[in-house]
Symmetry: C2
Subunit: 297 residues, 2 copies
Amino acid sequence: MAKLLECALNFSEGRREGVINDVAGAAQGVRVLDVSSDEDHNRTVLTFVGLPEAVAEAAFDVSAKAVELIDMNRHRGEHPRMGAVDVVPFVPVGEARMEEAIATARRVGQRLGEELGIPVYLYEEAATCPERRNLADVRRGQYEGLPEKLAAPEWKPDFGPDHPHPTAGATAVGARIYLVAYNVNLGTSQMEIAKAIARAVRARTGGLRNVKALGVTLKERNLVQVTMNVVDPFHTPLYRVMELVRTESARYGVPVVGSEIVGLVPLSVILDSVRYYLQLEDFGDDQVLEARLWGEQ
Amino acid sequence: MAKLLECALNFSEGRREGVINDVAGAAQGVRVLDVSSDEDHNRTVLTFVGLPEAVAEAAFDVSAKAVELIDMNRHRGEHPRMGAVDVVPFVPVGEARMEEAIATARRVGQRLGEELGIPVYLYEEAATCPERRNLADVRRGQYEGLPEKLAAPEWKPDFGPDHPHPTAGATAVGARIYLVAYNVNLGTSQMEIAKAIARAVRARTGGLRNVKALGVTLKERNLVQVTMNVVDPFHTPLYRVMELVRTESARYGVPVVGSEIVGLVPLSVILDSVRYYLQLEDFGDDQVLEARLWGEQ
């Protein structure tokens, strides 16, 4: 496969279809793989892939459109956010290497800062210091906390002005390996339970390595959700995450009622979980018919 | 995708590597997707795909080589068999329709009968009467029972002579939808338990629709196995089969120690089981990254 980059750009609109379409529509010259909007989160993940230069161009154009159409002063949603363009991660796919993704993150971050006047923090593999690797730390305080954050010397942005944009907040731009956005819905409306399970499963507070988790409410369905990012699904497989959520929720007599993978997921990640549940011995990725038919083209 | 046929040719050699390679090597002008040999079964499944005419040609050439090299008078193995070339099924893939697979089965069956002197029974969708649809019925009596079977008027073969070939037995040639060969290994060496579980899970004796099952011994590992064909994995998913095997084996205090899928399996079949075990809501086949990258080429 060619040297491709994937960009899973998160922007802060998940309710107004016209805005979502206009922002997503700004991605040209790349293959748009997925547009996943969440009304409770009031957030959309736009996933596109292509050669590095085309992906960088599209990421900038989408960001410019989001900045134009989204006013963060009016934004409410279940998911933490600090900007109209909240997160712009670049992921190496195929034969691309991490260095290519990091370089692209730096270039796009600089353009957002200089051309759109957005304060930009580089995170994960592109981070300029250890304190900025973790997205949760970069985003802490959210949009409302930006005036204070940007005034602090240790949070001087990597690009752009050190004061908030009047409507668009700040943006995190980075490079990382494939992440899986995985949400588990619980059969209860009690937020405290979702928070407790998130605390139990996330790495930072004593749970599984590579898991970030939050408890959120799904108002429409009168349920709560553990919303997670599995930042290295190749080492921490989805089944292990699900089984731990099941174990922890059993304590409260609360069932898992459903789950969702947001956006795309590599085949090998799916297969790792199938291998576990079906106790498969020696099942190769290349035993999937379509993988054999396409992979050899 | 083009109109392709897949052929999962089963021949009766699973131990002698030289013979396996020579027989499999006779498949030219097609894409060989998989060669799965089983020493206990003393059987190999050779899976190849291509345009219908090329697949028909390759199926004949592989059969001719198997007839040349395999002497059924010496054949011992755990899996029921009646011929050096035991089963030749054609499966429509991509945009091919069942009619194409049936026509190909008839043409190849005729060639095996006329050019190699092999008695041939058409089965499944290509069957010439209801009694011959089911492979188990066609194969009953195995190689050793062929002299008697071929003498009976109701088992006059569809092609070829109505007496056994001196060394190659008889062959079943047919057309069917995608079948998954799925074996489950049990933590016991007691054959009676494997047979009981096979009886419980197979359709014919009170189990799941679309499941054929037998109990066999894995001598090398001192275990027994429930070897199955799931003849319609799109309606009867693998997780349902596995869960029933687990339920039935629990009665004996016998654990499932592993399982295997032999040959290839369509992506949608894998995803059906992942959806069940991870309780996924609305997970599309096209959320698999590689499916999106390849499918749009």
